[in-house]
Amino acid sequence: MVNYHQPLDRTFAALIDPTRRAILARLEREDGASVSELARPFAIKLPAVMKHLDVLDAAGLITRSKAGRTVTVRLSPEPIREAMDWLRRYERFWSASLDRLAAYAEGKEAEMQEKGG
């Protein structure tokens, strides 16, 4: 029922870095941006931005398409969906389990109080 694998690890690893998260957050707001537009808010040089984009690309979090001299970067939602899927499955598992656990423990508590415990 739970099935996660290497791509998901790449997703999580790619998201460690605050610059990469900022890039993703921006791409979430805008439907595509050029590399130089993405680099502008950061106090780092273009090659450093390119490296971050490589990591995001390898994790499948973005796509890059080239038209003439402009590279447009877009968000690619699939890996994030997968990560969310992982969480939702666990959420379902534990939420249902803990509901029954509570009912079971409350039954035991009531039993004990009847016995004067």
Partner: protein
């Protein structure tokens, strides 16, 4: 988010909740995502001891998880590693449960976090949850 946290208030004292969490009888009652039966429950509740639970879901599929108890502090805290057996999940994760006595009984704080590798653990500490929350809101909208 690398981790899932659930808080429940239970009208039972912490010792009862702790035993429900750790005894084979208790686990057989509550473990699993739906009302399918628990087929096997083994626990050796001490640090370094192991547990193994097998259950069948209503769709007929069977699943088994096992792990090691990492912290056992009766009746307040339990930490255990978590792994699905049978190749469906190669990684290990961590389950932590804290039980706090409150007027009505127990406040249970449950956390399941991914610990697939060192990077994942660091990412958890780096706290990128907020960023992913935002993305989740976007994609699930």
């Amino acid at each position: 988010m690398t981790s899932l946290t659930i808080v429940r208030r239970i009208k039972a004292r912490p010792s009862i909740v702790f035993d429900a969490l750790t005894t084979a009888e208790g686990i057989a009652w509550w473990w699993g995502p739906d009302d399918g039966p628990v087929l096997l429950a083994e626990t050796d509740v001490r640090v370094g001891g192991r547990y193994r639970v097998r259950f069948r879901m209503l769709d007929g599929s069977e699943h088994e998880s096992s792990g090691e108890y990492l912290e056992v502090v009766w009746p307040n805290r339990l930490a255990m590693s978590w792994c699905w057996t049978g190749g469906e999940d190669p990684g290990q994760s961590l389950v932590e449960i804290d039980l706090r006595a409150i007027a009505e009984g127990t406040e249970l704080t449950f956390t399941h976090s991914r610990l697939h590798d060192e990077e994942t653990r660091r990412s958890h500490e780096a706290g990128w949850n907020g960023a992913l929350d935002k993305l989740e809101r976007h994609f699930l909208a």
